[in-house]
Symmetry: C2
DNA sequence: GTTAGCACTCAACCGGCTCGAGTGCTAACC
DNA sequence: GGTTAGCACTCGAGCCGGTTGAGTGCTAAC
């Protein structure tokens, strides 16, 4: 037995209906609601075939059928009608930030919130990550009598700053002089390389040796703890509206997964190759998400870094809608992060 | 009829038991578990009195009694035995950050996570907020050919930065010169005052007028959008473990409240006067939290700013435990933010 | 004032019942 | 041969009624 045109059509109807209602769908529903000019009996025969082929599951004998992960896979890969989403709220993301000081975190948080509102699922947005950024400017700014802020601007436009203790009092002009020297030496180098250059430099500049050693310590620490990706989450409560999560224990384990951002980030991040990924149920590789699907898209920033946008929902997700929303949001974020000359940390 | 010693003792036992189990407690339980040398019948009479006094509620005739908000209030105000908490995990907060670069957000996030783990409730930590910070240093750092990062260090040790566009190419030395002038003029002034000074300054410094105008725009924007308080949340999923939230709809509305950080922040913040506050059920003033209690404590930073730590749990919360945990955490955060010379944004 | 005893209440649980949606199979139909 | 009508069968959901047990309130005795 193999798939034919009609089986596909029926399968599609079943999936559409199940995505809409979340209730196992029966033969009569299909034959009536989606007029295919076939009686329920015929549909039944076809459904039985589809089950044998592994596209449908039956919770119990006297209930309707529900699509299997295999069915969703087929649906996403070939059956799905993808339409363009027309929704003003999406465009508003860029408008929301135009002409404002944009802190990367704010943008990401807002994006997650918008996506979750639009999709009614849970949205996760990861801050960009990618190839080692190269330093462009290093500057020391006096903070208090004996400490200074180290500001590092990289080619990706990303700014990292933190404070170091000064070995005694150092005046602002001296700090500036050191900054110039540092910028000259380190420009174009990665953090990695800078850690190699600094010790040699501190030998040369005897009088500031201690300060440079402090700086070295700082960079070294940074190198080991790679730029923590910011994880924005929106709409976790949305999941509780779906009957799939009417079981409190299930909901709890889902939520608690959402709280461990590191783990969540690694799940969402996946492989950075694909523009879009759709992982259905078991494909997620996460036991807690056995009946969730994860759809991701990417966006990119000036420095060639890539960020990820993800939507987590029940397997009976409105894939086409989610995909087009993610697509649109991906473009918007990319535009936003490439367009302005504002700082994006 | 009025309260006497014995009634108090019984009430305390009831509250203790209900906090522990979450199940309405009956007269027999009290007479057996907490040996008071009284029979269940006597307890019953007393309980009936306590109900009349408004300290106990009865879900239905044949169930036990549960403490009313009034009872919890009495409990918190006078009955509660507060003990010191001995838990290594609490001390570990400071250890966790000692010798590390501490970004204020990281500290707060971690604190929320620790508190929620220890208490098994939901923890919310707000970043410090308080009197207008005064500027200490203003410095421009070149970012790209035509943009610069503005770094402002305030007396609270807080650093704020964002980018402005430069009117044409400006070399690093010029930027430094302007920075010195800015620092000189603006040191000791608030953002508010700076906005008044800048226009006059830009008239004086003809050649950099445009740059200063850009800076003015930035500060003005900052002034209007006051420093967004960072809101760290931990352990939202904990709430689902309590039978109070076995109703999914209730859980959903709670979670969705947790997602609107602004609203949450304003609920938690409350009045900044008190070192501790305990709001029980209706006292929270939030309909969604009619059967939650909120306990808050404060911590403070160098600049005299105050932050808030809050725990949200069911009304039958382990108040004494929560209070001592919050107390301890408050001290730790205060120490952390006053002790080091690292930057705290 | 305290307690034992007893009647009463009521949620929770259990088992049986019906209802209805849905299936699978078979026989008739085109 | 594919399609359809018909029918027996299955099984979850919902309802009903009985039982159980925790707990109360009241009263009478201590």
């Amino acid at each position: 037995m193999e798939m034919d045109e009609r089986k596909l059509k029926i399968l599609q109807a079943i999936i559409d209906d199940y995505i809409l209602t979340g209730v196992p769908v029966g033969s009569r529903t299909i034959s009536k609601k989606y007029d295919m000019g076939l009686s329920s009996a015929t549909i039944r025969n076809e459904m039985s075939d589809l089950e044998e082929l592994g596209y449908l599951d039956q919770p119990h004998v006297s209930a309707g059928r529900i699509p299997s992960a295999k069915a969703y896979r087929l649906y996403v890969d070939s059956l799905m009608r993808t339409g363009r989403i027309q929704d003003g709220s999406l465009e508003s993301v860029s408008r929301h930030f135009t002409g404002r000081v944009r802190q990367m975190e704010d943008v990401i948080d807002h994006a997650a919130s918008v996506i979750s509102t639009l999709t009614k699922y849970t949205a996760v947005v990861l801050s960009p990550k990618g190839k080692q950024p190269r330093m462009q400017t290093v500057q020391l700014v006096p903070v208090s009598r004996d400490s200074a802020l180290v500001v590092i601007v990289t080619d990706a436009g990303i700014v990292r700053d933190s404070t170091i203790r000064l070995p005694g009092e150092v005046d602002s002009d001296t700090l500036y002089a050191i900054s110039r020297a540092l910028t000259e030496e380190l420009r174009g180098h990665t953090l990695e390389e800078a850690c190699a250059i600094l010790p040699e430099m501190s030998q040369r500049m005897q009088e500031n040796e201690e300060l440079l050693r402090g700086l070295y310590g700082l960079l070294n620490e940074r190198r080991e703890a790679p730029a923590r990706t910011h994880v924005a989450i929106g709409g976790t409560s949305n999941m509780l509206s779906y009957p799939e999560y009417s079981d409190v224990e299930k909901a709890r384990s889902f939520l608690s997964l959402m709280e461990t951002r590191d783990k969540l980030a690694s799940i969402i991040a996946g492989n950075g190759e694909m523009a879009f990924t759709v992982r259905i149920g078991p494909e997620t590789g996460v036991p807690e998400m056995a009946d969730c699907s994860i759809v991701t898209a990417t966006y990119s920033t000036r420095g060639g870094q890539q960020g990820t946008i993800g939507v987590i929902g029940p397997t009976r997700m409105q894939y086409s809608r989610v995909l087009s929303i993610l697509n649109s949001m991906g473009h918007q974020l990319t535009d936003l992060f490439n367009g302005g000359d504002e700082r994006h940390e």
